[in-house]
Symmetry: C2
Subunit: 460 residues, 2 copies
């Protein structure tokens, strides 16, 4: 769509010409995220304050112009793509850490702080912000909040929502709301804070975030255990829990992912021959606790039939143990031109059934489907490897995806544990949610955005 | 109001006469909660299933009859009171623990399970459901979820919302929704789960709850430290956090509360003479961790000027250390006929300012205001002691309450950390929330309950 008359002038008037761009390259670049299926914005604006955002929203509200907030554009489901054009609101100028409050264990930040930078800053103060999505060196805390980002540490520490205490946000009408606050306990009115977390920029534009911090665990230790197959690794995880250990991270890498890494490395393998599953386990806390937990972890892995157990004694060794996990995404990207990564999640005890399901899909659809991920919380990244010039393979992958999602719901799981719905997973929403549940969500959307101008075309 | 024609017959038809009562005593008893300012229902019904609840809702929706869900009626803000009469839905027959899933660390329960019973059941399986409101032997998990109950352990373990993974709930229309699920990570659609937690039965009637469990910490240890005044105790808490210790509970009892307990016990004191503040500290975890943390706790208390530090070596000693804390509520009830308990919360570092504020209120309004509570998260119970036959004192308390709430908001706190708004705190809502924020909450209410029939007169 084209912008209504006067909108562009009003934006320039409100923000200054240097913060408003209609350059086609800019509009397409800012209209594309990591999904790589973008749509150009009509105009890209860069507000410098909450008041600026509110002014933009009021203008869009008055003229019924679509508007889409954007962080770093690292999302995998197209959440920041302006499907219907309109005003792309890049929050890049709202990039300050406003407070790190050591006494009250909280931080107040603007949305465009890079998550990794925030972590560095709070860790310098001896504090800890645990959520660690793989994109943390690129993605913003505002994007993390909008998507409710997870990451490996979620098993012990929870996901983004567990750390958001309060928000300032601009409604589609331009009204500014403040939810929650600087306290952990707050039951005054509805919990709009956690309604906005994970709402993918469809209800309000987040302009300020109050985050809960915790003391930084002084000691971390890493262990790697290999198994003949996934069932042994899952047994080890179950035994760990029985032994009262909740590791900070519990990552699983399957045989096909290991093969992909080996292929990428020119045949060199990072695990012993015959390894069908690899677990990376990190525990943290006080030294006494870490020592005690590591002993329990080792026993659990041995009892579950581990073929090899390695313990990192130095930072360099730790880095080496993590190498496989870190190489996977690169490796998968390198050995195929098109990789579709689905972040499905099932109850932990059903992970073996999930792998049975994936194995059946491999057979039935003749596909390579390497899997890896956060086995502690049942959140497994299932990757469909397809050649972009093989339409038959693409179609087989499409059918396999559908079967995967259906199977995940049967296993009492969810079709997205981390990446959200955006527009790429919207067609699958009704696989998981009933018509009444979707209707309730739509009613919430209408309550916040009666004109349907904020990030239209997403989720539903 | 009287029930519309045919409603009573339809209810009897749907539920059976034995589950429908219009007996005036029953209607008043079920119309009153711990606030003790009730209103009779027109009819009390006891559904036995989600389908029953849905049938009741459909009937009320069609006839525009108010309906109010009720758990054990232990709420302090009138949340379960049928202010406008209508149908009181007691959920007492939905009282089963449906699953305790040790492998996936979760429980599935109906709303009327007593929270303490649930805790006992999961602890028998070596698991742990941390939220521990003082009412846990009377209150139900459904009520805890509706109010987002807290408790002493919230400092380390968080409040109810941190443990709710999914819900089944009946909308005012009678439609049944299912939110979240059996996984910790789930970003499919809006987080209606956490919107319903703490919504005080005004958006939907919760009929099933999926709760996250954690491994039960094998060892607990209790320590009591006394100080000359509140500032010393708060310094100790700050030092603890600096020493990387997050105790499971951190309870503070002030001088006036100690005096009340002593008065109740006929002059016998449970703390050394001159004690101005008492801290109860519990740490838990593996033995190695508990030992290490206790040493740090002791050092932090000593550095902050503790006058006495006691460590419980046995369960009996632990019980004795807790005696003061347990006696307070009884003591306060016994020594005055009317006690108004406000569960305000401020950022932890501002607790000394809060006590300064309370002291100024004591002077200005000539009131006894004993305070105690969860200092770790800044959630302090501020109790106004008034004589019911002293209208002047009642009026002074009313003015002091208003000043307290205003002061708490200035201290960046919240007027309710645990008890909710109900109808008793509704007049104060706009002290804390802006008009735009309240309007957004009202829009959510209208989205769920367009006819305004579910628990009307609450929150706003």
């Amino acid at each position: 769509m084209a912008l209504a008359a006067g909108v562009l002038d009003a934006l320039i008037n409100a923000l200054g010409a240097e913060h408003v761009s209609t350059d086609p390259d800019t509009c397409l670049t800012y209209g594309t995220d990591a999904l790589k299926r973008g749509h150009p914005a009509d105009v890209v604006v860069k507000p410098g304050s909450t008041d600026d955002v509110a002014a933009i929203a009021r203008l869009c509200f008055r003229t019924r112009t679509p508007m889409v907030p954007r962080g770093a554009g690292t999302g995998y489901t197209g959440g920041a793509v302006p499907l219907h054009g309109g005003v792309l609101i890049s929050l890049e100028r709202l990039n300050r850490i406003l407070e790190i409050d050591e006494e009250n264990l909280l931080a107040v930040v603007e949305p465009h702080v890079i998550t990794g930078d925030l972590q560095d800053a709070v860790e310098r103060a001896g504090l800890f912000y645990p959520p660690d999505p793989a994109s943390l060196r690129q993605s913003t805390i505002g994007g993390n909040v909008a998507e409710c980002a997870g990451g490996p540490r979620a098993f012990k520490y929870g996901v983004t929502k567990q750390y958001v205490l309060g928000l300032e946000a601009v409604l589609p009408s331009g009204d500014v709301i403040r939810t929650g606050g600087k306290v952990v306990k707050n039951v005054v009115g509805y919990d709009l804070t956690h309604l906005l977390v994970g709402s993918e920029g469809t209800l309000a534009i987040i302009t300020k975030i109050i985050l809960r911090l915790i003391p930084k665990p002084p000691v971390q230790a890493t262990m790697r255990a290999t198994f003949a197959g996934v069932p042994g690794a899952v047994t080890a995880v179950t035994e760990l829990v029985r032994a009262r250990v909740i590791p900070a991270t519990l990552e699983l890498v399957d045989r096909e992912s290991l093969a992909a890494v080996s292929e990428y490395l020119g045949g060199r393998s990072l695990a012993p021959a015959g390894t069908g599953a690899l677990l990376l386990i990190e525990v943290d806390g006080l030294q006494e606790q870490v020592d005690a937990e590591l002993a329990r972890v080792e026993r659990a892995c041995r009892d579950a039939g581990a073929t090899e157990i390695l313990r990192a004694a130095t930072a360099a060794e730790r880095e080496e143990l993590w190498a496989v996990r870190r190489e996977i995404s690169y490796a998968l990207k390198m050995i195929t031109a098109l990789k579709k990564n689905h972040d499905i999640v099932v109850p932990k005890a059903r992970v073996p059934e999930l792998f049975d399901l994936v194995e059946s899909l491999r057979q039935r659809f003749s596909l390579r489907i390497p899997c890896f991920g956060h086995v502690g919380d049942g959140n497994i990244h299932v990757n469909f490897m397809v050649s972009p010039d093989d339409p038959d393979e693409i179609e087989r992958a499409r059918l396999a995806e559908w079967a995967l999602f259906e199977g995940v719901v049967v296993l009492e799981g969810s079709i997205s544990g981390e990446h959200g719905i955006g527009f790429s997973k919207a067609p699958y929403l009704s696989l998981e949610l009933s018509a009444a549940t979707i209707a309730a969500m739509r009613a919430v959307k209408d309550a916040f955005d009666p004109l349907g101008i904020l990030n239209p075309g997403k989720m539903f």
